[in-house]
């Protein structure tokens, strides 16, 4: 996936990067800053450009991460993924109209998740909390780090993810929930092949589908519970064997 993204950004040799090599990592970071991110002016990139003096580079990189407000990641692969994602976002924002033809019917309308979640959060807090307040954002970010929720540029979406984790794993209701019994089935072995030769597409698709099925199941369970509740008022099944007649 990372390689695909680098290729899309125009990296000259996306297939030949050894991500574990610190030096190659450094040069990739530099390339991203030079080509797309451009956080610093050109003359400000000198420390990062000096790949011969790695200790100095590390120093500069640390500052760079803070300046980009990159969330604390552990591995350099995670950091690089975030940087590439960030670069792609900037590239897109430079000229969104250029990509207009891609949304539409063929690709499925991209939902304005940001606005939706903002509305949702606002109604929950009843407008009493400014969700764009710096402290609020910082609070969400800290919570996310504690619960190991992956970073997202929109803190409200991240808050939604946190809600889900609290709901599923930490809340009192989930504590008392019985463990699901049954035979587990490897989810990548079903009849429903998405893209047999492209794991980068197949894997996330399956995960998304499972999430969709899970929320559908919740909805259906709610529906069933409602029906049962109504049945307690209306149901009165009767049979009258006198009416019955077995034919010839």
């Amino acid at each position: 996936m990372l390689k695909l993204k680098l290729e899309a950004l125009g990296h000259p040799t996306p297939n030949n990067i050894a991500f574990s090599n610190r030096k190659e990592f450094a040069s990739t970071v530099l390339w991203l800053e030079d080509q797309t991110i451009r956080l610093y002016p050109i003359e400000g990139r000198d420390t990062m450009r000096n790949l011969e003096d790695m200790p100095a580079w590390e120093e500069g990189y640390k500052q760079y991460c803070t300046d980009l407000s990159m969330p604390p990641f552990e591995t350099q692969l995670e950091q690089l993924t975030w940087l590439v994602g960030n670069a792609m976002r900037l590239e897109f924002l430079d000229n969104p109209s250029q990509y207009e033809s891609i949304n539409g019917v063929t690709e499925g309308q991209p939902k304005n998740n940001g606005a939706q979640s903002q509305e949702k959060v606002q109604t929950i807090f009843d407008g009493k909390i400014n969700v764009h307040d710096k402290d609020f954002i910082a609070g969400v970010r800290t919570l996310a780090t504690k619960l190991q929720v992956p970073h997202h540029p929109n803190h409200l979406l991240q808050l939604q993810a946190i809600t889900r984790i609290v709901h599923e794993r930490i809340g009192p209701a989930s504590m008392n929930r019985k463990a699901i019994t049954g035979t587990p089935f490897p989810f990548d072995k079903g009849n429903d092949v998405v893209a047999a030769n492209d794991p980068a597409l197949d894997y996330p698709m399956r995960i998304l589908r499972l999430l969709q099925i899970q929320s559908l199941r919740q909805l259906q369970t709610h529906i069933n519970e409602t029906i049962v509740a109504v049945q307690s008022l209306t149901a009165n099944p009767k049979t009258d064997t006198k009416l019955g007649k077995v034919g010839r």
Binding site: G182, T183, F185, G190, N191, D192, R209, I213, L216, R217, Q220, I223, N224, E225, I227, V228, V230, Q231, T234, A235, N236, P237, K238, T239, D240, T241, L243, G244, K245, V246, G247, R248
Partner: protein, 506 residues
């Protein structure tokens, strides 16, 4: 009808692969699209023999051969894709039984035909599971069969045990299974595991004749006669362990109950009324068909709409009917085992309709189109992740219930992506007749048929034993051949095989 020698007719048929034949345009006049049918080598012989017999000089009367009927359907206005014959195909009124055809809803000339649905509207199969095993049931199967026979009214002229008045019927026709739920005859989970959630919203009881309602009222909650039955079956083979476990079938020997029934005299009357009405509409709109039995009307005409609304009401009738019999079955089992249906885990695995027309969206030539899909003797078989199948089967594909004949086996299949592309998500529905009813009455003896069943250890209760030879296994194609063909052609996938241990029948 074009009369040609058999050798000439064969020139219009082409074998595409081991399981599929093409019917070229020109086989019957005015074909808008090509026809296709799925068979293996044994079923192929039956179909071709039928055609050969009809080509003999002087052969007259009876239904047209199945292949001719497929081709006549291909000549109806507005048909899309291909006219498709499933492996269990046999001649029927207008459309062959086992023929499916889709019509473009956006084409003003497209038609709906009652012959493409059949007289027993929303005839279908429902499968209940239990947590019992063969060893629990085998010693008391005679009593259990008797208990079922006592609970479920069967046979021609039978009457239901659920008290209903005319107003109840009106409500049931409009609400379908929601009526059964409201009154407490069904469980909430039953609705979830039923095609269309057990209710067609387009139903309008106002479009149904008084006569149909009068016929239907006393028959609600009865099994009926003919090929309808309730069977206690045991799981004989599991081909797809994972899909089976999603349906609550864990091991061989598990006991299930299959109910095969439809809309009784009600649906028959709705179809008859519509045929009369449509004949006039055909003259008015100058619709030409190759066969008088293919009476039809434009979907958007008053007659077309009236039929679709009345058909939906009949479909709702059938779901209420099957739900009522599910209720009675649960009672019979609960009494027998001195427990509750809940404790016996008597959930509905699924409920399929194999005589129905529905509006569905399909991809045709790369574009999504709204179609009116006629399935007569053909079961819907949607692939995994289709939005119209229950959430529990999103990963496995829709369960397809294929009832065998008395004394043979039944199958559960699952829908596939390939079926969606090739047959508008449709597959076979049962064994399919090989001998006509009258022919089986002439050729077979009812005592022999019953003795044979007893010999293989099947408890049987029949309301009218003299009609039993119409339904003898010998009168039907081999259901295993039919199912294997569907599996091999990829239009559905084998999941479970069941064999009966007790049968009750009309």
């Amino acid at each position: 009808m074009v009369v040609r020698p058999y050798s000439e007719e064969l020139k219009y048929l082409e074998k595409i692969n081991d399981h599929c034949w093409r019917i070229k345009k020109g086989f019957q006049p005015n074909m808008n699209v090509e026809g296709v049918f799925y068979v293996n080598s044994r079923l192929e012989q039956l179909i071709l023999d039928e055609l050969k017999n009809s080509c003999r000089p002087g052969a007259i009367g009876g239904f047209l051969p199945g292949v001719k009927q497929i081709a006549n359907v291909a000549a109806l206005p507005g048909i899309v894709g291909r006219s498709i014959g499933l492996p269990d195909i046999h001649s029927g009124y207008g459309f062959a039984i086992g023929n499916m055809a889709a019509f473009d809803m956006d084409d003003p000339l497209s038609v709906v035909s009652p012959g493409g649905v059949g007289f027993d509207i929303n005839c279908g199969v429902r499968l209940l599971r239990t947590n019992l095993y063969e060893k629990d049931v085998q010693p008391i199967k005679e009593q259990l069969a008797q208990s079922l026979f006592d609970h479920i009214p069967v046979g021609v002229g039978s009457k239901g045990v659920i008290p209903m008045n005319a107003r109840d019927l009106e409500e049931a026709l409009e609400m379908g299974m929601d009526w059964s739920l409201r009154e407490g005859y069904a469980w909430a989970e039953d609705k979830e595991h039923c095609e269309e959630y057990g209710r067609m919203l387009s139903a309008d009881p106002g479009k149904v004749s008084m006569r149909a309602k009068k016929r239907g009222l006393p028959q609600l909650g009865t099994l009926g006669a003919g090929n309808h039955y309730a069977e206690i079956q045991v799981v004989d083979e599991i081909y797809d362990k994972w899909s089976a476990s999603k349906m609550g079938i864990e091991e061989k020997g598990q006991v299930v109950v299959m109910i095969h029934s439809g809309s009784r005299g009600f649906g028959h009357q709705v179809a008859t009324d519509a045929l009369v009405e449509m004949e006039k509409a055909m003259k008015r709109d100058q619709i030409e068909t190759n066969d008088r039995q293919l009476a039809c009307a434009r979907i958007n005409s008053v007659e077309g709409q009236n039929y679709l609304k009345a058909m939906a009401a009949a479909a709702n009738f059938a779901w209420v009917n099957r739900s009522s019999m599910t209720f009675l079955t649960r009672q019979a089992f609960a009494k027998m085992f001195n427990t509750t249906p809940d404790d016996l885990d008597m959930h509905v695995i699924y409920d399929v309709s194999h005589n129905i027309a529905k509006v569905e969206n399909h991809i045709v030539d790369g574009k999504e189109r709204k179609l009116l899909v006629h399935r007569k003797g053909s079961t819907r078989a949607f692939p995994p992740h289709h939005p119209l199948i229950p959430v529990d089967y999103q990963l496995t594909g829709q369960p397809v219930l294929v009832g065998g004949t008395m004394g043979t086996c039944s199958y559960v299949l699952t829908g596939t992506e390939r079926g969606m592309q090739e047959t508008f998500g449709s597959t076979c529905h049962g064994a399919g007749r090989a001998l006509s009813r009258s022919k089986s009455r002439r050729n077979l003896d009812y005592k022999e048929v019953l003795d044979k069943l007893e010999q293989i250890g099947i408890a049987i209760r029949v309301a009218s034993p003299k009609l039993v030879m119409e339904e003898a296994p010998e009168a039907y194609k081999d259901v295993t051949d039919v199912v294997d063909t569907c599996h091999a052609a990829g239009i559905s996938k084998k999941c479970i095989k069941m064999r009966p241990i007790a049968v009750i029948k009309g």
